[in-house]
Symmetry: C2
Subunit: 595 residues, 2 copies
């Protein structure tokens, strides 16, 4: 049995936990009543399970091929699947109806993208990058640019990329050297080499729209002199169709540990024709609009790989017969018991469930706040939505990519020796998931963003609102006997988060290294707090179902996994707090030559 999309989980979250029907007054939600959402997600699940999942291993084993003419051929089956993907309207799910999109809330689009990412991460990166390019142009492009590019990007007819990295310049974008020279017609000529460009060249779409960071001649040094350009593979002709071939070419593909199905390209721009997006020297801010969306998506990729890996491990654990339960045989007629009877195998699977089920809730909950930030009529709700999106994007990106990789590693462990062979899917999940901790800003960069920028923004307004919301939940629900353990666990970790936040504020002023030294552990503590809050919301929703007489074990099982989270995942929060408070002194004490 291969990947089974968790539509049941999605519907429970949307209906019972997030209660999206409350937002039927808002655009997007108005057109997506729950029965329609169920239809859409069921179709998306079918496509992911039947079309995308079978190609996952093909992409890994065959990968992409760079041809001598600079073209790139994707793995067998990818082109046909992409055609179906576009024809099914899947890329347009969350896009603006003004440009041909379906205008569904981001939280619904996220549920769909989880499934395609679990089924085939490499495949899903092509539309993922396209949607990022769509977002940047939607946010910063001229009307003409929007009219020309957005419908093609929204539909997936054209692909998109982000051209940031250069050999000397990864995280530190101030070091960009790619140059842009103004031409007489208002366009630019872009010259420079870009590396690690996902979807930089491929055979899936009829055109590829590169969004390229470059310096206009004479621009200030550093990050304040960087502009954003549209550089299409084929220059659109007068009718908006792919015309003349532009001088942007793929020089080769990167050899990587995973995501072999995704074309990671070295791109050379040689006086390529490009058009400025937004203002001169303001490119980085625009790129971050795109990047922030991608970061949330990468957090979901991490979770999605964890989910797929967990499913493979759970299946293996139910089928593989080896040893006997210590409490007496559970499969007495067979040669041995399924390894699911062994507590240490259970432990790994329960660890996964405890993070995946609440992690999905945390991602959806944040995406819903993003939807509210766009369209809620209440100023306060919109502001809170924006604050939460800004605050939580680095948390979700880093926490779920780290946990997704950990789950993939545990899933391999459940497989034993089989997991290390390439005959089982565990290796691919482990190898593919590892990149999510690195790209779109390493997890260290996320932690720096959280502690250095997002926490102090607006006098700490976002984190204060988040803690106040938790306090209100604890006050309102702590008296309910069924919810008491969840309220207690949540109050405990919220107190630890508060203590860590205060420590960073008090000690980061005197020495900024103090704040960053603990940033990764602070981010973990934040992630655990978010999970504890989500388990509280899930427990409340499940308890309400049970109290209402619903005997489906789905709900009782949620309470079990939630308790497991409290008992066996949440204790890590105390260790994270202690590490935050250790500060930078010892960490930074060794001279460079001691490494």
């Amino acid at each position: 049995m291969s990947y089974q999309p968790p539509v049941r989980e999605h519907l429970f979250l949307l209906r019972d936990v997030l209660q999206i029907e409350k937002y039927a007054n808002l655009p997007g939600f108005a057109d997506a009543p729950l029965d329609l959402v169920e239809q859409i997600l069921t179709e998306a699940a079918k496509f992911s399970a039947e079309v995308l999942a079978p190609l996952n291993s093909v992409g890994d084993k065959i990968g992409c091929t760079w041809n001598a003419d600079g073209s790139v051929t994707t793995a067998p089956g990818f082109k046909e699947a992409y055609k179906q993907f576009v024809e099914g309207g899947w890329p347009a799910l969350g896009a603006d109806p003004q440009y041909g999109g379906q205008g569904l809330p981001a939280v619904i689009a996220m549920a769909s993208s989880e499934m395609s990412s679990s089924a085939n991460m490499s495949f899903s990166m092509y539309p993922g990058l396209t949607h990022g390019a769509y977002t940047a142009i939607h946010h910063g492009g001229s009307d003409a640019q929007k009219q020309l590019y957005l419908p093609k990007l929204a539909s997936g007819q054209w692909g998109g990329t982000m051209n940031l990295t250069e050999p000397q310049c990864g995280t530190d974008l101030g070091l960009i050297r790619t140059k842009a020279t103004p031409a007489a017609d208002g366009s630019y000529r872009v010259t420079g080499q870009k590396i690690w460009i996902s979807s930089g060249e491929h055979d899936l779409a009829e055109n590829i729209i590169h969004l390229v960071l470059a310096r206009i001649e004479g621009a200030p040094a550093g990050t304040r002199g960087i502009s954003l350009f549209i550089v299409p593979k084929f220059l659109p002709d007068a009718e908006g169709k792919p015309g003349q071939r532009n001088s942007v070419h793929c020089l080769g593909l990167e050899e990587k540990m995973g995501i072999h199905g995704s074309a990671t390209c070295v791109m050379s721009h040689e006086e390529a024709v490009g058009w400025l997006v937004g203002e001169e020297n303001r490119g980085l801010a625009l790129m971050f609009v795109m990047m922030n969306e991608e970061r949330l998506g990468v957090g979901m990729q991490g979770l999605a790989q964890g989910e797929a890996a967990y499913q493979a491990a759970a299946q293996f654990a139910k089928e593989r017969l080896q040893g006997r339960s210590l409490t007496g045989p559970k499969n007495p007629d067979g040669p041995a018991d399924p390894i699911l009877v062994h507590p240490d195998v259970r432990r790994m699977l329960m660890d996964a469930k405890a993070v995946l089920e609440a992690g999905r809730a945390f991602l959806f909950w944040t995406a819903l706040h993003g939807d509210l930030a766009q369209s809620d009529p209440d100023d306060g709700v919109r502001q809170k939505g924006e604050d939460y999106m800004a605050l939580l994007t680095p948390v979700l990106k880093a926490f779920f990519t780290e946990r997704g990789f950990q789950i993939a590693s545990d899933a391999m462990q459940v497989h034993g020796g089989s997991g290390f062979t390439e005959h089982f899917p565990a290796s691919q999940y482990l190898r593919d998931s590892r990149i999510t901790m690195i790209y779109e800003g390493t997890n260290g960069v996320q932690a720096l963003d959280l502690v250095g920028r997002k926490l102090p923004a607006n006098g700490g307004r976002a984190v204060s609102a988040f803690m106040a919301e938790i306090d209100a939940w604890v006050d309102a629900n702590g008296g309910d006997a069924a919810l008491r353990p969840f309220a207690d666990g949540l109050a405990l970790v919220r107190g630890q988060l508060q203590e860590a936040t205060m420590w960073l504020m008090q000690n980061g002023f005197s020495n900024p290294d103090n704040a960053i030294a603990g940033s990764a552990d602070y981010l973990r503590l934040f992630g655990l707090t978010g999970l504890a809050y989500m388990w509280a919301l899930i427990a409340k929703a499940a308890s309400a179902r049970i109290a209402g007489g619903d005997a489906d074990p789905f709900y009782a099982n949620k309470l079990v996994v939630g308790r497991y989270f409290l008992e066996r995942v949440l204790p890590d929060a105390g260790a994270a707090l202690a590490k935050v408070k250790a500060g930078a002194a010892t960490m930074m004490a060794l001279p460079a030559e001691a490494f």
Copy 2:
């Protein structure tokens, strides 16, 4: 700069921390004064760095080739390197002088094997398995078998393997189906298929001696009906030279995520000629002699991969220029600072050092106890040595393979996007190290062995001795101001280990699942306790040097890394204790269909 063998670390441990000169009265040690040990390790370092390390990537990229005639060709350069390895006498370092070995203490041989494993894990597996076969025959073989096989195995002229796993039988060796039928001449005919046989077939040695688990016809079912056989690839002729080809053949190689340079074979025994080792139906006990040695070696492999990965990351962090220190530029004339200035990069490198430096001490310290168990004239010392070896083998195997993989993953993270490409060594370290958590008994099996067998053995004698030794150290050294933080940290974690041990004893009786549910976390807590003890010993040795006027920063740096361990690694112990005490109830509560 590639792998630099840490001979300085080795000598500090042997001389200052373990003070091996105290044992000059014992065989082995008597012939290995420190200046000779330094010469040996310096030569081993040279061989590892100059011959083995350059072949590591070759082994990964080209791997082994299975030929249509059933032969296996190792990666280019491996055969020549193996010849040099044998000619240099390296395989014989720790072997019995009676059979051509050099008889050095195991702790010295371990230092040498760390270096070959760091330099080229796949290569080092060939002699590693050979030494395991040597140990099994040395322990259980007849005199004739010893005379025939041991000198050839000790020298590395012949290779060795362990043939355990079958498709239906991994951890649960009771399910073995391979059959052995007695022949008229006292030999047996062995028939069955074995999988995942490391070094099962290759072109390095002129003969390969398989140690094969099989059932003699009519033997009892389960683990009590398994016997151990010698099945040589070529039957030794009257002169002990490789004679007639035996009917044991390699049917193919496993496709794996890593250790591509190691030949992982499917082996088919078709009425192959074999000879019983030891008694009928007592094969498993003998195989465990071999397995236990391998397990200690695998713990060292985990650490060795962590060390190599750490070194690559440290080098990258000193060379890669990106961003600026938050406390002011450290490389003001360059375009950016080396990323080592960023606290989150430091964190990952310091995490590695805190585990590697004390981890090596813990492995050496245990190996030294193994040496004392063999040869100390004092009954009590020998017994304690045996107790510690038995108790700590599963701890060292699981803890350092888990940590080694974590360090390899952090090392990739330090590299950023470069780490995910195959142009840097980070990917190979990550992929290679992952198998160490699985083979020679998964880490879950180690935790089960620790909690289910090793803890309760002899009424808990081993763990009581370990804790008493720690108490004595704390009592003797806690009054020293320089050592106080180390004594305090050690006393704290030792108390947590005691509490966890008591909990397991009290709650494991009523329900054995309670003990196993916490076994992995208990093992982590044990590992952290061991590291805390080793940091205490290291701090004492370094402080003594400093007090004696030695101004080499090596010693002061040790105290910094030790403090970092106390501040930022040891806090995980509290979380591990909480998880142990959570028990099995919630973990085991879900029905199988909920997974």
